[in-house]
Symmetry: D2
């Protein structure tokens, strides 16, 4: 069984904490949009708020991606799992 | 005072309900990611979940945008506020 | 036969000229990347140049979209082809 | 002077050739749009063609990125330039 199959490549604790705080804030923002939708909002105001949440999620994704590159992808050659790490990352980046 | 300044162009009730249901589901998904981050997740799994929520928000944005085009933009020439409606929409689309 | 089936909704001449000039410049930029690739460029420099061309094409798309909204979508209710115009536009925006 | 400052991390020849062929095809496509714009095209047809070229450039970017991850980022820990490689890559990915 190799290292990657066992998934020991956990998200770095500092990045995890940062991601968690930002996701909590994005969740609060989302709840604000849900509240807006109980009233009679103007479409463009809803679109702006959705864009803001998307921007916050982009930022969370960047934090996780950066940590993954630093702690796991940059050491792939040392571990010997480059092909697997790269294929997996390309797959995830395709949907950004 | 013109119609747009008063913002009577409310989001259509059907689109609003659909958007609301999908945002509730996106919120549940976000809460799932927050739970993941209490443990020791693998970075790529977090990235995949963030992409999934982004996809759900994209879909909400499409519903609101389509409703706005149908109910408000398509009738802008009749109301006489085309320039304003278009500028406002281009501004919002820039950040997608 | 209705107006849309005959496609009389041509791109506005001013937007067409602007789009043309910007596409010519994007083409020149693309030729620069092709020249880079005859040598031994650094990957990140190639990625930066590709992003720059994408940005230029985004701008061309915005010009054409804005003109389309102003000249054709905003008058859809007057012409009576709202559903068709909106479906078609949503389809195209999905791929942005 | 370290390895990265000298930029010896050239794009892999196989990826370079593939990128070059695809860029040549994208350039042909762009020339097709320029020809369209000499006539009186329908806005949505122009938008579709621009999207198609963007898709082709996305694919070129993916090829270069994948090669960069495989040949340079995955071995950053071995070379000792992880921080630099990651910062540089995050900067480039931000604009996708």
């Amino acid at each position: 069984m190799n290292a990657v199959q066992e998934h020991p490549l956990h998200l770095d604790p500092k990045a995890r904490k940062d991601a968690r705080n930002r996701l909590l804030s994005a969740k609060g923002h989302l709840e604000g949009i849900l509240k807006m939708l109980e009233g009679e909002p103007y479409c463009v105001d809803v679109l702006k708020q959705i864009s803001a949440v998307q921007g916050a999620l982009d930022k969370v994704g960047q934090i996780v991606l950066k940590s993954h590159l630093e702690h796991h992808v940059a050491s792939a050659a040392q571990r010997g799992d480059t092909a697997r790490m790269v294929d997996e990352l390309m797959e995830v980046l395709k949907y950004r």
